[in-house]
Amino acid sequence: MERRLFYQYCLLLIAVSLVLAGCGGNNKAASTNEATNAPTEAANSGTSAEGEIKVGILHSQSGTMAISEVSVIDAELMAIEEINAAGGVLGKKIVPVLEDGASDWPTFAEKARKLISEDKVATVFGGWTSASRKAMKPVFEELNGLLWYPVQYEGLEASPNIFYTGATTNQQIVPSVSWLLENRGKKFYLLGSDYVFPRTANLIIKEQLKAEGGDLVGEEYTPLGHTDYSTIISKIKEAKPDVVYNTLNGDSNVAFFKQLKDAGITAQDMTTLSVSVAEEEIRGIGVDVLEGHLAAWNYYQTTDTPANKTFVENYKKKYGDDRVTADPIEAGYTAVYLWAAAVEKAGSTDVAKVKEAAKELEWDAPGGKVKIDGETQHIYKTVRIGEVQADGQFKELWNSGEAVMPDPYLKGYDWAASIQPTE
Amino acid sequence: MKESAILQCDDVTVEFDGFKAVQGMSLKLLKGELRFLIGPNGAGKTTMLDVICGKVRPTAGRVTFGGKVDITRKKEHQIAELGIGRKFQAPSIFPSMSVMENLEIAMRQKRTVFATLFAKMLDEDRDRIGHQLTMIGLQEKSGWRAGGLSHGEKQWLEIGMMLLQEPEILLLDEPVAGMTDKETDKTGELLHEIARKRSVVVVEHDMEFVRNFASKVTVMHEGKLLKEGSMDEVQSDDRVAEVYLGKRRDADVSRSTA
């Protein structure tokens, strides 16, 4: 009895020392806070050490989303390296602080908080899934941080603390649906993974189909990580659509396309257009399976711009000849440059000043000229529809000619009135 | 006579996957009786105890407790609550708990969640447990982890737990199996003590042990009743002798002709 008490006491000692250790670890943080005399504002300074600017990179390095996000980290690191090689920003070196979001949304929120309030980074480049962005958004708004989000998404959002360098719906989905209606047929089958992006995208597509004379012949969502598509392919066969509009995510694409081919359906029989299949994914699915299928993006490795030539060259030189570039990789790369340009223009890393300076900022991205839209903090992008070729690259079938102005709330489309947020 | 029967088994049959472990067995136990159930391996003695305490549901037949309650359809814990205690062959105590705690939860008490949550150890309870500890000779070891006791001590602890439960019928399955001679003697004393207050059914192999008690013996063989009577009667019975001497075939023949 007594001994039991005694060892419990030992445990308690550990508990207490743990808390104290936690405190000890924080004395540093606390003292820096005192030193700057402004605990909350200090979070935004970003210039912790002389001649250095810290930036956060927050993507999933583990878990299911690592599949996609690690390449974006590579691109962002490369951009930072290039900028540093060219003299840095404001004469200071950019130092990346890497954190792992671990494909877990609350972890993204936690790490975002840590980057802003502990590491005092000037900005964060991060996120891939909509869920991770939604999780980080309140943190950035609360602490007045700055997030650069590099992936195409479902729109209907414009946070004052986020810059969106991927496409919003009117820069990818809406034009691609119009193009398909014109060129491939009226009967649409919507297939997506069961999460926010596909559901919202399909909500928009359904309105657009109604307005532009398309037919919806089927709509299916599969759980993330779903691996057997035989039943869905049977349903697609029955519905006989002209187009399968595919918003499946990650691994599901592999299973879907492999099994689609086995079921005897090729790109000649039926058009599929994907919005989450880029060069990287093609490597994981296999070209033999994907050849002839379509995708809608703002950038392909084959996009013919001078900036892209050097970008692809440098990327391959740095990470290996077998690596490919893709839209989100380019968007991540672009984000770093846009931020650096904005900081140069503002002469400071202060969030408010950077945001002000970023308005209408232009830059020659690998995917073509981009411009930040001051109001929504999205960027103008060129829409491109491509077809998978035998070498795993895309052949551009169509592009929008000029960069399309971002319209995250689809205010410019009458048929989208019912999709507007209620508030 | 029938009124004082505390336990009545009528025509009990138990079948496991087509194998009949017990076939049409009947047993009547009087109040305050000490009954031995003997028989060779596989005779169905343990299965019979299992039926009484609810561990095994009989395929046919019924078991009546106290002259009116049919317990064949009741759950184990309900049967235990009614007043039938069971001691298993292998010591079934709670090894991670102390001897004291083992006795404490076995003690006769209200067994609802609410009652146990707010149960207090009364002086009266402590006396009861203390008395029991003395009786089973474990008063020195009340704080020991039960799993650390010797085999014999575990058996006694289990008997002690049974007694604190204050059952009207106690079912004991080979209480002296695996015990040293000394331990066996002590268990015998315990058994005498116990049998004074309640009805007891003991399954036993050890004939020497059984002989110490002047009480009724039931012999089972191949799931059926072979013989019932005093130890002397049983021992002088030819069929019983045959069964124990292993002349099975002959016994079968003699029974089938009988």
Binding site: V19, S130 | A119
Partner: protein, 360 residues
């Protein structure tokens, strides 16, 4: 057993507990806001660990579905916060899922009291129903564990599939105020931290009471031999059901506190991975000791947070190996290690080993 004389050691341990409580309460004085927030989250996890220890460490039932109960509590609180943020109108995700009207079952969550009550009652009720069937049918051990995994799959798939009502994969995030106080303000956070500490201490005391009572002894007896206890006259199914329900309610409370600190709940927190992690906290801290379980949760999450920052690429190696080593070679966890050190000194009295029996 009942007599608890005030020996010097007992006084020391009381002082120890008081010191631990004081250290926890005064943490805001020397910890940065971020660390405080982190610590608060860990304490919420420690609460789940306590609940989990009740059923695993003491009763021997391994639930790999505690993420659900945690999550349901969290969702109840999240619904309240979300409605407060949107001023009673349908929250944003309903809008982009095409839902214009606030569904009926959301409406009462406008009231804080209702939400809090639901945060405990819903998980507890689910556990009760689940426990009623499974325990009555004597499903236990491995079967129960795998069954809880099936329940996890069902719940998360449903939550994700009903995006219009639940927020789907994104979960529910984007809150503003709690009872009118802004959640972002450091003062609110500090108060919430204290509330969490108080909840942890309260639940710790409650668990101690449960474990120390005769009810707790019956639970341990069930762990030792579920079948044996039937023949003493206890119906283990009822006890298992009750403790499972209590444990689920505790997880619900932890979930509510988690949402307040982290500001998001999503189906990923209900999944199989977090559910297993919760069990590992208990395993590493030491199953069958309350302080061990709570400590395990804090320690593991602290380690996870530090490792993943220090080695974003390799931290999973550390964690994985740690799990393996602890589970295989230290089945009693950190708490067991401490007591082993003691036992080595003086290994005569076997009583102490009582609390450290493997639950399986």
């Amino acid at each position: 057993m009942q007599l608890k004389p005030f020996t010097t050691q007992r006084i020391w341990i009381l002082i120890g507990y008081a010191a631990a409580a004081a250290a926890l309460f005064s943490a805001p004085l020397f910890v940065s806001d971020f660390r405080l927030n982190l610590l608060a989250k860990f304490l919420a996890f420690a609460i789940v660990a306590l609940g989990l220890d009740l059923i695993w460490g003491y009763t021997g039932i391994l639930s790999l579905g505690h993420g659900i109960f945690f999550g349901l509590g969290a969702y109840a609180m999240a619904m309240y916060l979300k409605l407060e943020a949107s001023g009673g109108r349908p929250p944003d995700f309903m809008g982009w899922s095409g839902l214009k009207e606030l569904p009926l079952f959301w409406k009462p969550f406008e009231y804080f009291g209702f939400a809090v009550a639901m945060g405990i009652i819903i998980p507890a009720l689910l556990a009760l129903v689940l426990g009623y069937f499974t325990f009555r049918n004597r499903i236990r051990g491995v079967y129960f564990t795998i069954l809880t995994q099936a329940i996890v799959i069902i719940t998360t798939t449903l939550l994700i599939g009903q995006q219009a009502y639940t927020g789907g994969t994104n979960g529910v995030t984007g809150y503003s105020t709690l009872l009118g106080f802004p959640l972002a303000s450091p003062d609110t956070k500090r108060v919430l931290y204290w509330v969490t500490v108080a909840a942890l201490i309260g639940i710790f005391v409650f668990c101690r009471f449960v474990i120390g009572s005769r009810f707790g002894k019956v639970l341990r007896a069930i762990r030792d031999g579920e079948n044996r206890i039937r023949f003493i006259g206890y119906n283990p199914a009822v006890y298992q059901m009750v403790i499972f329900t209590i444990s689920a309610g505790i997880a619900g409370i932890a979930g509510m506190l988690f949402v307040l600190h982290v500001g998001i709940i999503s189906p990923s927190m209900l999944g199989i991975v977090p559910s297993i992690e919760m069990v590992l906290w208990v395993a590493i801290g030491g199953r069958g000791t309350l302080i061990g379980a709570a400590l395990g949760a804090i320690l593991m999450n602290w380690a996870k947070s530090e490792f993943s920052t220090a080695y974003p690429e390799g931290w999973l190696f550390f964690m994985g190996l740690l799990f393996v080593v602890v589970v295989v070679f230290m089945p009693k966890g950190v708490a067991g290690l401490v007591s082993q050190l003691k036992v080595r000194k003086k290994r005569r009295e076997p009583k102490n080993e009582g609390v450290r029996n493997p639950a399986v």
